[in-house]
């Protein structure tokens, strides 16, 4: 049993042979690439914090398979307490890194599959759950980071998979062999893909019989033959190539996304968890989405950092005592803690599935994520309001260090006399990073579209809100006889 620390995790990544492209060229050393490395550091924090006594209670869990202590990211939830701790772990890590730490998606895929493989077996007398549990034991034993890959490119959104002009718009089976299948397609927006040891693939939408070749789920090593990663760009990403750290905003951590191409990749039978059971594709999507909507607890932690940065900027600017500043900080906290309420509530109100896995309350998880599509934007707006325009007009760190003009920056960007000018500039860069720089990918747009765009949650809220009961109760209290 190996519980990796940050150094062991980094070393494990060096053993992978990933095919990664960025700016049109193959990345030969993924771990040390200056643009990718901060995202690796963020995942490494999920290993590091487990070994700190002051965080172990959230970061570790007891495996229901072996009774061993494991990283919570490899755990199958065995109680609502586990679900609550997952939410709290998200806040902890969001606050620790101020970015996406990438590892929740794999945990959510594992938990969703623990439920759905069991349900498929019950109907079809298959043995997917046994395969899955063997795979889970492998993941737990080796303390692996898994990418949970759901989102297909989807082509024409008005057409189902089998009617797409390009049949590869959804990932599919192109060949069936005695010992496995060959698949082709892609998964988009894959957070943390090149920091993962494994990639767990799931279908992206509900499917019908005609789409059976698309109703597949499986897991592969992230460096399996035929898998190619094309790194996504983030605004301000090349600042990581510059001298100094100030203009990065966050000096330690970051996130990344990639388009993952599966170019006729072989999947052995023992790694297949769904193959053609199209009627369960929607269930798997729904389970995964519910868990993953809960996972946006991380944004509360990132919000903690942004609120702290805004309050610090106010102090540095000399306006901390202004009543409107205080009120804006109250509003930011109100919004942030409302998000925390949602992720705790959907966990506390979770329940046990037939497989034994505990799942979040679907309605509340969707309500929580719907709030996440909105509140971080308002928190970011208020942070920018407090920070002031210098956040986006500030010259570079190179200018600040320059003999020619640095003194003028020191002179004219000085505010509170007790605060070094560099501190003021650094906190403004952090707010810039979180609200429109590399971290805004995670804090804002990912909050909007990650784990499903806003309309996806509204559909689920519509489906799960018991309107008939509400109307019945209203009629009764109004004295309407039925």
């Amino acid at each position: 049993m190996t519980l990796m620390d940050a150094a062991a995790y980094e070393e494990s990544l060096r053993k992978l042979n990933l095919v990664v492209y960025m700016f049109g060229e193959r990345v030969e050393n993924v771990v040390d690439d200056p643009i990718i490395r901060p995202s690796m550091e963020a995942v490494a924090a999920t290993y590091d914090l487990l070994h700190r006594p002051e965080h172990e209670d959230l970061m570790s869990a007891v495996s229901h398979l072996t009774g061993n202590k494991i990283n919570r990211f490899c755990h199958i939830h065995q109680s609502t307490d586990d679900l609550v701790k997952k939410s709290k772990m998200g806040r902890l890590l969001g606050r620790h890194t101020a970015c996406c730490f990438q590892r929740c998606v794999g945990m959510d895929a594992l938990n969703a599959l623990s439920i759905v493989t069991h349900d498929i077996d019950q109907k079809h007398a298959t043995s997917y759950n046994r395969r899955f549990l063997d795979y889970l034991a492998y993941v737990q034993e080796n303390d692996l980071t898994c990418d949970g890959a759901m989102t297909d490119p989807k082509g024409d959104r008005g057409l189902p998979p089998h009617k797409q002009p390009d049949p590869d718009a959804f990932l599919r089976v192109v060949e069936r062999r005695v010992d496995g299948i060959v698949i082709r397609g892609a998964k988009a927006h894959q957070t943390g893909a090149v920091n993962s040891h494994e990639i767990i693939v799931m279908p992206t939408i509900s499917m019908r019989e005609e789409d059976a070749d698309y109703a597949i789920s499986f897991a592969l090593p992230s460096d399996a033959d035929g898998i190619v990663y094309i790194m996504g760009r983030q605004s301000c990403d090349t600042r990581k190539l510059e001298e100094g750290t100030m203009d990065r905003g966050n000096v330690s951590y970051g996130g990344h996304e990639a388009l993952v191409v599966f170019d006729d990749v072989f999947v052995p039978n023992e790694r297949i968890f769904m193959l053609g059971e199209y009627e369960f594709a929607g269930d798997l999507v729904e389970r995964f989405a519910s868990y993953h909507r809960q996972s946006y607890a991380c944004k509360v932690g990132v919000g903690d950092v942004l609120i702290g940065a805004a309050a610090t900027a106010a102090e540095y600017n000399g306006v901390a005592r202004a009543s409107h500043i205080k009120d804006k900080l109250i509003e930011m906290n109100h919004l942030n803690e409302t998000l925390f309420c949602g992720c705790i509530a959907c966990a506390s109100e979770g329940g046990r599935e037939p497989s034994g896995t505990y799942c979040v309350n679907t309605l509340l998880a969707n309500v929580h994520k719907q709030n996440v599509t909105r509140f971080p934007y308002e928190i970011a707006r208020l942070a920018q309001d407090i920070a002031g325009g210098l956040m986006v007009t500030l010259p570079s760190e190179a200018d600040f260090r320059s003999e020619a003009v640095g003194a003028w920056m020191e002179k004219y960007f000085k505010a509170n006399d007790d605060v070094p000018t560099e501190h003021r500039l650094r906190i403004l860069r952090l707010i810039e990073n979180l609200t429109l720089g590399t971290a805004a990918v995670g804090y804002l747009t990912e909050s909007m579209h990650g784990a499903g765009s806003p309309q996806a949650q509204r559909i689920m809220i519509s489906r799960y809100a018991d309107m008939a009961e509400k109307q019945k109760r209203a009629r009764k209290l109004a004295g309407i006889d039925e």
Binding site: P53, H55, E56, D57, L58, K88, M89, L92
Partner: protein, 113 residues
Amino acid sequence: MSENVKTIIVKYCGGCNPLYDRVELVRRVEEALSNSVRFTPVGEEKEGDAVLVVSGCHVRCAGTTDLPLLPMFSISSPEELPGLIERIRGMLEGRTPGVMHREDYKIDKNRRK
């Protein structure tokens, strides 16, 4: 280190949103009781004289099922620090008032909620 030094096993909550620096607080307790107690994280050592559960807020969500069956102290805010030090001193001097047992912790935790 003296043979009379007592070992207190420390269990922290996970620290999702702590209202104070829990590690610093334990350091202060250790400083106040220097040469009398030493703190060790849960899991590192099986043998000990007592357990200290350190919670970052009054929710007190730290799991206690993995703790050895020993006299228990708990703290969830810096304001409780003087009382905690006094209770530990009481243990060192052979008095036991204020030492909490597992069921007391659960009752106290629920009362706080």
